[in-house]
């Protein structure tokens, strides 16, 4: 019993270290500046006054244009989420519930949009967007990102609706619900965690995309196009600071939604 418990604890410690040690090293390098990045052995805690440790972070955040770029990123990602859910959920529902000619072909075609590299489409896309007046706007980039995110939204929501028994829906019709009412009162609440997952996915795709965002904008760059695209060319300590500032929000986010996260997996795997 004790041996098993010991094994169990060792496993827990290993798994925690697996995640926490890199995070710790990133935090250390982000706050220590270049002296710590290249030092070996590294100090256990950042040396020096608190102000000195926070200086690299403050300097990163004070780079001209970071905040407007952050706002543009959020706008773009929200446009992407809104459109891909509006278009993707009905398509996913149809794929899950109705048998129609060419359903398989449709699934493949949906994925085909990802087969074209954006780099080749860049020039025609930019020209078209300028003509349409969408160039250099968050809506324009959001549309482009929707095209990239939509296949995932459709396929994820299709498997999501497939996992919800059709009998539940039929039962609610028996009790007087209309088709729409049944969807709203029965299917939607069950699917909501999964839909949230699909939305998060679309958000992340938009948030991380660089090339389309930098080709289709000049003044109104998303954060990735504005900063992260050039991060690899900066000195290591700046890279660590950038990495730290990117990791922290996502760690906090995952910590806050950790229970929901499990329910997402639960429903998606059923």
């Amino acid at each position: 019993m004790t041996a098993r418990r010991l094994f169990f604890l060792a496993g827990v410690v290993t798994l925690c270290a697996w995640v926490l040690v890199p995070l710790y090293l990133i935090a250390l390098a982000a706050t220590g500046g270049s002296a710590v990045v290249h030092a070996w052995p590294k100090p256990f805690l950042p040396t020096g006054a608190l102000a000195a440790t926070l200086a690299p972070l403050a300097r990163f955040l004070s780079i001209a244009g970071v905040w407007p770029a952050l706002l543009t990123s959020v706008e773009t990602a929200l446009v992407c989420v809104a459109i891909s859910l509006t278009l993707g959920l009905p398509a996913g529902y149809a794929l899950a519930r109705f048998r129609f000619r060419g359903a398989v072909l449709f699934r493949v075609l949906v994925l085909m949009t990802r087969a074209f590299p954006v780099a080749i489409l860049a020039l025609p896309l930019a020209v078209t967007f300028i003509h349409l007046g969408l160039y250099d706007t968050p809506v324009g980039v959001g549309l482009m990102h929707t095209a990239l995110a939509l296949p995932f939204t459709i396929l994820v929501s299709a498997s999501l609706f497939q996992a919800i028994p059709a009998e539940l829906e039929e039962a609610s019709w028996v009790f007087g619900c209309s088709r729409l009412g049944a969807f709203r009162r029965v299917v939607m609440p069950l699917a909501l965690p999964g839909i949230a997952a699909a939305a998060t996915f679309a958000f992340v795709i938009s948030w991380n995309e660089v090339f389309a965002a930098s080709v289709l904008t000049v003044r109104h760059r998303t954060l990735t196009a504005y900063l992260l695209a050039i991060l690899p060319e900066s000195p290591l300590d700046v890279q660590f600071t950038g990495a730290f500032l990117l990791v922290v929000p996502s760690v906090i986010f995952i910590f806050l939604v950790r229970r929901r996260l499990f329910s997402i997996w639960g429903i998606a795997n059923r």
Partner: protein, 432 residues
């Protein structure tokens, strides 16, 4: 139930809010936009915005862009006639494809205004791309040099002069360190984001064969690859991952490194007492080096051409050029003495560059000229040749035969004439 409802309602609200926020963005801003592929790293771009442009007579918006999206944007704006960008800052080779397409505005009227800035004629000529008109004004220049940790200096072979090493001495030096420490301490930027192809195009090939394209598969080239294969036995095997040599220098993974001045500067500026900078080695045909020139150009149809011209004049002024040098490791385009009060790391780089340019057997090799969009394929020939001969130990003569044919196909496609170090050609440059 309530939070779910909230989510359902919030979605559309957010979308509408986003669309509303996008509205004001459509209005054109008054500041001219300066699009640049140079000074991209975060800290350098920050310097441009907060120091260089602070005292500028023209308030401009500096936007750094990757070379790929830079090209797409300039071409897209020209195609639609909807211009946002007023000033372009880019390398010689990045501006070149725009000239045959007629996308750049001739700047001949601007040249007399810059007379006081003493930009060397050789650089100004580059900005003409062999035509009658000035298409860009030289902005900054850079090149590739070597840097070494001071710990490596005791192992220098007898009789070797650090300021005039040969490739053979470099090999002996690295071998001596390898023997003493058990580590391979010579490094090259041969990783995916490294600039190793420039080493072959501007340094190794011209130094050993006196040419690049014409001598690509000459007997000297075969001998060169054989001796470079020998040198590679002393090179840190991690080199195929390195992008910017300043990082392995700072961490102590390598003691001797070759790279672009801007990619060594972090090590030399942060720890000037630990590192030395020195010229690239020389080969049987001399000390070959590759000058890199960045220029300022105005696209045809630019919304603010007069302000862009004023900005070029401001950026060419000696005082602004010094600010630019301090912001990056690019050196001024005008013929200025390196100021004495410069920080030690930058001064070390400047001195190494000056020594290299002044070497009696110095041999400038230009960045590939006239290849346009095929530049990447041309570079890949050298990287492929390197991989096959040095990393996979294939027979040099056979590999050079195959890769030379591929190179000729690229040159034929774009009808590129020979450029220095190759002698000028009447028609398309020929691989002998």
């Amino acid at each position: 139930m309530t939070p779910k409802r909230m989510l359902l309602r919030l979605g559309p609200v957010c979308a509408v809010a986003a669309l509303a926020l996008a509205g004001p963005n459509l209005a054109a801003a008054a500041e001219p936009v300066w699009l640049s592929t140079q000074l991209r790293p975060i800290e350098e771009a920050q310097q441009v915005r907060t120091v260089i442009l602070k005292d500028s007579p023209v308030k401009a918006q500096f936007i750094a862009d990757q070379p790929a999206s830079f090209t797409v944007r300039v071409e897209a704006e020209a195609k639609t006639g909807h211009h946002v960008v007023s000033l372009l800052g880019a390398l010689h080779g990045e501006l070149e494809p725009f000239v045959p397409l007629g996308l750049l505005q001739p700047l001949d009227s601007l040249v007399p205004r810059l007379a006081a800035d003493k930009i060397p004629n050789s650089l100004m000529q580059l900005g003409k791309f062999g035509t009658q008109h000035q298409y860009y004004i030289p902005w900054m220049q850079a090149t590739y040099i070597m840097a070494a940790n001071r710990k490596a200096l005791p192992y220098l072979p007898k009789g070797a002069n650090l300021d005039h090493l040969t490739y053979d001495q470099l090999e002996q030096w690295a071998a001596a360190i390898h023997k003493a420490t058990g580590q391979r301490m010579l490094g090259f930027p041969a990783g995916p984001s490294g600039l190793m192809h420039r080493f072959f195009e501007g340094y190794l090939y011209p130094a050993y064969t006196g040419g690049l394209v014409t001598t690509f598969r000459s007997p000297q080239a075969v001998a060169m690859w054989e001796s470079f294969r020998k040198l590679w036995a002393q090179v840190n095997p991690n080199s195929t991952n390195y992008g910017f040599m300043q990082e392995p220098l700072l961490s102590g993974d390598v003691w001797i490194a070759f790279d672009h001045v801007a990619r060594l500067q972090d090590a030399l500026r942060k720890r000037p007492n630990d590192f030395v900078a020195f010229p690239a080695p020389s080969g049987p045909k001399g000390l070959a080096y590759m000058p890199v020139v960045a220029g300022l150009a105005i696209p045809k149809g630019a919304p603010h051409p007069a302000q862009a011209a004023a900005l070029i004049a401001y950026l060419s002024k000696p005082s602004t050029q010094i600010l630019t040098l301090k912001a990056s490791s690019f050196f001024p385009a005008d013929a200025l003495p390196t100021p004495g009060n410069l920080e030690p790391g930058l001064k070390a780089e400047g001195d190494a560059v000056a020594k290299m340019l002044a070497a009696p057997d110095a041999k400038p090799a230009l960045l590939p000229v006239g290849l346009g969009a095929k530049g990447g394929e041309f570079d890949k020939i050298f990287l492929d040749t390197f991989q096959r001969i040095v990393l996979r130990h294939e027979d040099p003569a056979t590999v050079l035969k195959r890769e030379g044919d591929a190179m000729q196909r690229i040159l034929n496609d774009v009808h590129a004439k020979c450029w220095a170090p190759d002698p000028p050609s009447a028609g398309t440059c020929q691989v002998d």
